[in-house]
Subunit: 135 residues, 2 copies
Amino acid sequence: MFSIQQISDRLLEKDIKPSFQRIKIYDFLLKNNIHPNIEMIYNNLTKDIPTLSKTTIYNTLKNFEEKGLIISVNIDEKEIRYDARLITHGHFKCVKCGEIYDFDYNHDKLKIKGLPDFEIKKTDLNIKGVCPKCK
Amino acid sequence: MFSIQQISDRLLEKDIKPSFQRIKIYDFLLKNNIHPNIEMIYNNLTKDIPTLSKTTIYNTLKNFEEKGLIISVNIDEKEIRYDARLITHGHFKCVKCGEIYDFDYNHDKLKIKGLPDFEIKKTDLNIKGVCPKCK
DNA sequence: AACATAATTGTAATGATTACAAATTTAAAT
DNA sequence: ATTTAAATTTGTAATCATTACAATTATGTT
Ligand SMILES: [Mn+2]
Ligand SMILES: [Mn+2]
Ligand SMILES: [Zn+2]
Ligand SMILES: [Zn+2]
């Protein structure tokens, strides 16, 4: 899927030194498109890295986002979820099972009115509802 | 602006008994389109209602949202903001001053792809950036 | 090796939200 | 009007994600 070399290179592209923990965390995000929260990342990686600290995950993800390597998804009021998929897309959260789904939308046709002279840094389209599995 | 009678009626329309606290909280949201958090509401209303409890505000806002009287705005990772404006609109949060601005967009032209059989309950368009005042 | 710098870790603090039970208010019944 | 029941409000304690901070460990350089 993704070699350690590939992952290291992508980290370096964003001026992030490819430490063992950073590689593992980014690798997890790339391989699991589940928009995990800190807990999910921790529980999965702690098998391989028993010494891993949650603080490291928090710091790493903040660093990743600042450098533009990943995005944070704030569709959940309770916790921040993370996503390594950088192509513009929206997020759907099922209020029953809590799962977060990706979806595409016609972002190029989106017309924002009334924000002249506003500098836009991030646009999020978040939808809540019930997924087919839960209906 | 809004008479107590008008506010009571709108609460009753949504099957919410117009208690003194509920009227005051809804009145505050109607008169102050600032997307306040709990703290802002508490600090403002506690002048008039010294006995007001934050728990009441939490319960009331949850009740309001469930009944469809207001919406919650989750653009802020830290806290929930509240809005009595029910017309479809987006929210812009300035990352410098923290202020949240309303904006309109062509919601009717928005095409969601890849969510067949998903039941949509709430659509949020959230933008982050820097407002003119902070540039 | 000795030193400086960066990264990681563990623990404590923060702060918004929720749980819960007691107190108060409101409405209904007698 | 008094009593009773139900709804609402309140205060306090608990929860839980996130952050602050200092100590430890790893990495790189002379
Ligand atoms: Mn995604
Ligand atoms: Mn608004
Ligand atoms: Zn579901
Ligand atoms: Zn601003």
